[in-house]
């Protein structure tokens, strides 16, 4: 990668595009945008720029292309896996000024958002203005971006409808040559209601981590928001029963989300695993019916020691119950488990049937590196897959602690691939491990596409690069 000779020229060019206030090459901003809250080792940025419009994004990309400078988009900056931290320096493009909710189509149930719109903003906006509609809220902090989370295969409170990437109706993208694409139904229609029945180009930008283009707008599916929402909590005695339990639950198609969390609470001698089933309803009768159905489902389930035990909310600490019901859940609390300000996890997309194997191997890895198992397992679709997250908190002030987490993450990536899973939103090392196992033909096509989409190699380079 050639770094342009004239840094001042780039700086002045960026200022001309977005105005002086929204460009920086000061050490303080470069420090901040060279690292994220995860365990990745910092990597240097050279400029930070905050565009306000798609046209400004286009102009910045053209400047970057002309100067052969990398450009790395960031919106929420909360992947924890360093995806928005430059690998090869260059311009970090912070999208958070572009935070307009452009359109809501109430009848066709979609929203068009710019790439800086936060999950929190969309949640609050819909509650206030369209209380009959909701989007699938991930358990990332509210500052996480809707577009970023959707493009990296996030999942959330409406997991029965699949991963968030499957909820995309269309995208507006600035390509590596500065051209602007509008994909999905908008390509032929004034309405952005869906992707089909056209050749699907949206996928060229999903899970590519900004290496094929910079998404500036996204049309996202919304879903009915029912007036009643509640949950059931079950104690899982034996993780080996999880596939059967989730399979039975999802077969009903009557839940919105199924989430299993496992951790060792303070002072507890063992790991506690709780399975939560989220329910919504139009009437109290409907809600009661659903609750009864699921409670009955597990009355005679399993043998002694491998039961799924219904646990009334009243029996649990109310703080825990409140936390489970919160939107988004306060998952960031994990960062303070070691009073250390950080955690990172390997999320693995797995077939449901592989959960017990992953569970056991995760325990081995945790033990090897001195952790307690800290898992979340979310059903995605109707039992079609799960996202299994193995989390490793660390103390940011202790380099040894950071290294321990990095080592555990590396082992977990290997384990995930060995058992037939796919690591999710992987950091560089994880990407390398995936590509090392990838079908060579697929890898070759991937790199062919990348070359066509980004001939100058300026779009978040270093990611999905092989060899």
């Amino acid at each position: 990668m050639k770094m342009a000779g004239d840094k001042d020229h780039v700086y002045e060019g960026l200022k001309t595009i977005v105005g002086d206030a929204f460009v920086s090459r000061d050490i303080e901003e470069l420090y901040m945008y060279s690292r994220d809250p995860g365990a990745s080792i910092p990597r240097n940025a050279d400029w930070v720029v905050l565009p306000n419009t798609t046209d400004e994004v286009r102009e910045i990309v053209v400047l970057a292309k002309d100067m052969k400078i990398p450009v790395v988009p960031i919106s929420g900056g909360l992947t924890l896996s360093g995806l928005a931290v430059p690998v090869k320096g260059g311009i970090v493009m912070d999208m958070r000024r572009m935070d307009r909710i452009v359109e809501v189509n109430e009848m066709s149930r979609y929203v068009v958002v710019e790439s800086g719109v936060s999950q929190g903003k969309l949640l609050s906006f819909l509650k206030e203005n369209y209380p009959m509609l909701r989007h699938s809220m991930p358990d990332a902090p509210p500052a996480a971006s809707v577009v970023g989370n959707t493009l990296i295969y996030g999942s959330g409170h409406l997991s029965k409808h699949g991963a968030h990437s499957e909820m995309i109706n269309g995208l507006e993208v600035v390509l590596g040559d500065g051209e602007i694409l509008r994909l999905g139904s908008l390509a032929v229609s004034p309405y952005w209601f869906g992707r089909a029945p056209l050749p699907d180009l949206v996928s060229l930008f999903v899970n590519w981590f900004g290496t094929t283009g910079i998404v500036t707008r996204l049309s996202l599916k919304l879903y009915p928001a029912h007036p009643l929402r509640d949950m059931l909590i079950f104690l899982v005695q034996d993780p080996g029963t999880i596939p059967e339990a989730v399979s039975r639950i999802t077969a009903t198609d009557l839940m919105e989300d199924v989430l299993i969390v496992a951790s060792r609470p303070p002072k507890s001698p063992s790991v506690i695993s709780l399975l939560t089933v989220y329910l919504t309803a139009e009437t109290p009768e409907e809600l009661d019916f659903k609750k009864e159905l699921f409670v009955d489902m597990f009355k005679d389930f399993g043998k002694e020691g491998s039961k799924i035990v219904f646990t009334p909310k009243e029996m649990l600490p109310q703080k825990l119950v409140h936390g489970f019901m919160e939107e988004p859940q306060y998952a960031a609390a994990t960062a303070d488990f070691k009073k250390g300000g950080g955690f990172e996890y390997v999320g693995v997309v797995l077939p449901l049937s592989m959960v017990p194997v992953a569970w056991k191997k995760g325990e081995d890895i945790a033990k090897k590196h001195g952790f307690d198992p800290l898992y979340t397992v979310r059903n995605v679709g109707l039992g079609h897959s799960v996202v299994f997250a193995f989390a490793y908190p660390f103390n940011r002030a202790d380099e040894k602690s950071l290294k321990r987490s990095r080592d555990a993450l590396a082992d977990t990536n290997d384990m995930a691939l060995e058992i037939g899973g796919t690591p999710w939103k992987s950091e560089l090392e994880g990407q390398a491990r995936i590509m090392a196992r990838m079908d060579p033909m697929v890898l070759s096509v991937m790199h062919g596409i990348k070359k066509v989409m980004d001939p100058e190699g300026i779009m978040n380079p270093g990611n999905w690069e092989h060899g």
């Binding site: 000061d26 420090y31 901040m32 900056g77 509210p142 300000g341």
Partner: protein, 395 residues
Amino acid sequence: MALDDFKDIIHRCFRCGYCKFTSNYSDFNCPPYNKFRLETFSPGGRMWLIRAMMLKDIEPSQHLADILYTCTMCANCVEECRFKFHDNIVDIIMEGKASLVEAGVVPPSVRDFFKNIYTNGNPWKEPQKKRGDWAKDAGIPHYKKGDEYLFYVGCIGSYDQRVQKMARAFGQLLLRSGISFGILGEEEYCDGNEVLMMGEEGLFEYLALKNIELFKEKGVKKIVTLSPHAYNAMLNKYPGLGGDFEVVHYTELLKELITSGRLKIPGTRKMKVTYHDPCFLGRWNSIYDEPREVLDSVHGIELVEMKRNRENAFCCGGGGGNFYTDIIGGGEQSPSRIRSREAAETGADIISVACPTCMTMMEDGLKGEDLDHKIKLMDISEIVLSAIIDAGESI
């Protein structure tokens, strides 16, 4: 305190970003982040930069000083941060500023602020002997031993022409209530709250000790402050330096006087009023109800809330010395202009304030938005007083 006291806490900020928002996540509620949008200007960003400075990964610089001094100390981050150390965030930012003071790297306007207060007792180099001029011809007495309350006016109330009216209105209400009170006039000195918030701890201690000595010499037991900033310093910081006084904000005292029947409001004011919570009254000291109860006690007033209110109120942008230094700067995205637009959205005739800093900031904000002809800026005392005057009562 010193920055080193937080060395076991500062790395615990995950930069998750809750601190930027209102409690329902609808808006960015951190004034500098909302304006600049660079992650460095968020509370978490500041925490990381201060830690980097502690680790010597970065050096004190003018840009770092700008980043820290745009912080208005509004404490939204304290309110919204979900971690157990949330109470320490503003302390850490304060100590970060203190480190810059120690390193001699502060913005010129901050340096001038400190210098003027040290040499003149106020930020504008106004003569000390004119400090009590606002009270001339208003019948407001000088404090004498045995008076129940010292009415502490503060720098802005003493010298800013608009805020002087606010001080006079409260003085008139005290006179009407029959309570014994007095001001210190030219003997009064800066309370030091902003100096402390800007990291000049030595100067704060000097001011606080000077005030404490004077108050004790005068036999002061109870203090009523015009400013929530002075209220905060005297209530929470002076005791640690030997200054144990009973401190109330003027809206608390007004509420008590009205409730006890010592202050009657005979008139009616048919108007729609919105109330802007000052940070140092609300988030810093949890006083939300008293100002509203005072407004409610005026017949005819319809109180309408802005979208962001109480714990979620958006700061006017004046705290942390910004009313003087203006490091956060003007323009459409300046906090006071945003707040003026929010006030106008309520359809209120009046935006009421309970803080001299807010009064000056909102005056500018309304003018900047060309709303000063549509929505009137009044302090709570002025509203109460206007109801009494409307009823034809003499003061």
